[in-house]
Amino acid sequence: MRFVFKRSYDDDIKLFKHRPQAFYYLALLILMLALPLLLDDFFLGEVTYVLIFAIAGMGLMLLTGHTGQVSLGHAAFLALGAYLNAIMLSKGIPFVITLPLAGILTGIIGMIIALPVLRLHGIYLAIATLAISVLADDIIVMAEPFTGGVTGLVAPPIDIFGLDIDRYGTPILFYFLVLFVTLFVLMIYRNIMRSPLGRAFVAMRDSEISAQALGVNITKTKATAFAISCAITGLAGALLGHFAGAFNNETFNIVLSIQLLLMIVIGGLGSIHGAFFGAMVVGFLPQFIAITRDFATDNFGFNSLSMPGIETGVFALILVLFILFEPMGIYGRWVKIRTYFELFPFYRKNMFKRQKSYLKTERMK
């Protein structure tokens, strides 16, 4: 067990709780920077994909995990980011401008879309955002002059100050671009969470009424959360557009929306780590299934693992198991394991036991 002696208020404000923690994350960063030396292009591409999903996951985590607003429509904002970026690029605007602008515009548009539905709670919000996702699909088709309709768009090549970046041509550069955006978003996320705004988010999630009684403007704070969340998701969308190369309305369908939500739940709601863990599951699960399938076919000669849709099926099954047995997700499990070793041999089984609260209706009739 580690005791952290705090000497000033700054000890609670700084990003890393203690020196060893800072050291671990530094080591992780160095590993990420050295990754192109260790992996071939294919696996580097996979890691890039995971990072893009982690960015999108952070976007949704901020909204759902920390502010408590469920969104089943975030694929719409991925799409918005991807299309805005690609359209602006094709107009000859340089990438260093289109990427941040795509994020900011997605944030603003997302907030405007969200404003009328922000008054809604729980299921109503979930359903309204679900509708946004369905509508986005149709609107992309209807806005054919801009979006190319069902034919879709091809993401124009990226050029940063004369440096050509392409997912297939220069996968290492593309990886670094995505890594940079990931770290940037991560920094902003962490900063917000240690500021008054981040506390207001969490307060609103846990008790809206009490947050209001302490001076949190619910509508404004929710709209801000939505804007930041959509902006981050828009950035991820822009990058995903480049990663996919070409995309159309099908790329960002409702299933992707739902998958994003399931992803952060598996990772662990309410922690930034959760966004990364969840993205890893989403990113590596198809590989894992493919490897298992090959293994099963080679050794037992059966072919049943090659059905269509097995990824989503397995993914959903994992999720159900997590919700039932580890509602705090992978991150929650990780914290328990870590605590077990820190406290060894004094860990008690019910240390993290959840308090059950009996449901009382919020309806009057």
Binding site: D10, I13, P196, R199, V202, I209, A211, G215, V216, Q355
Partner: protein
């Protein structure tokens, strides 16, 4: 001039009149208690002052100005803080974080500076922390500073909620049943704290409470309500011996033993 005044306030839900033509004034520096049987409309009065409900008739004034045009989240900026009958803390946060949310009305930083955690934000955080630490010292919560609410016993939660209200640096504190569910010792602590809040911090207190011992020890004035109507107002002794109050509590013809 009175700090808070209700003037002929009426609120009904459907056919049920929860608050019926109630008027009272709370002067600066006073401890004012609302008593009455369950369903008398005491908590509804609090929710009216918090702007969770709109009165159908009458007016609510703070420092002589009507607050009826304010949103609930604008009420704290008048220097009004409250606690809740059923404890509404932020369960997934630590005690420290809960108290820091009490500083929300003093937030000066904007989104951009917070995104990059500008030096001004850091400076502000230190100031908030300083205020919060003073409250922690006052209510002796040092041992629980980094504990999560979800794991705390009931009595401590009650204190944390009081602390969170104090962290807003209020002028008027609304306490909704501060002693309900507390042990005798915890209630005695509460009595001392409320006295200190009044005397040392110069905070006006409006309180709803059932524990007549607590009410009698700290209140300057008491208002008894029943079925949304005013029964009696005066010192604790006057109200306790008022025949209408006795009737409301015990039906007709009983003796009151407090």
């Amino acid at each position: 001039m009175s700090l808070l005044s209700l003037e002929n306030v009426t609120l009904s839900f459907g056919g049920l009149i929860a608050v019926n033509n109630v008027s009272f004034h709370v002067g600066e520096g006073e401890v004012f208690s609302l008593v009455g049987p369950n369903g008398a409309g005491k908590s509804t009065v609090f929710n009216l002052i918090s702007r969770f409900y709109d009165p159908q008739k009458g007016n609510i004034k703070v420092n002589g100005e009507s607050i009826l045009r304010l949103r609930p989240d604008q009420v704290p900026s008048l220097g009004i803080a409250r606690t809740f009958q059923n404890i509404e803390l932020f369960e997934q946060s630590t005690v420290l974080q809960n108290l820091l949310i009490g500083r929300q009305r003093h937030r000066k930083s904007n989104l951009l500076s917070e995104m990059f955690f500008a030096p001004s934000v850091r400076e502000e955080e230190r100031r908030h922390r300083h205020v919060v630490e003073e409250v922690i010292d006052f209510l002796e919560l040092q041992a629980y500073r980094d504990k999560y609410i979800a794991g705390l016993p009931y009595g401590i939660r009650k204190v944390v909620e009081l602390a969170r209200a104090l962290a807003t640096e209020p002028k008027l504190l609304l306490l909704d049943e501060p002693a309900s569910g507390l042990s005798l010792e915890e209630t005695n602590d509460m009595i001392y704290w409320i006295e200190d809040i009044k005397k040392q911090m110069n905070i006006t207190v409006l309180m709803v409470e059932h524990d007549m011992n607590l009410v009698a020890s700290v209140s300057d004035r008491v208002l008894a309500l029943a079925d949304g109507k005013e029964l009696a107002i005066g010192t604790p002794q006057e109200v306790q011996s008022h025949p209408d109050v006795i009737k409301a509590y015990l039906g007709t013809g009983g003796e009151i033993n407090v």
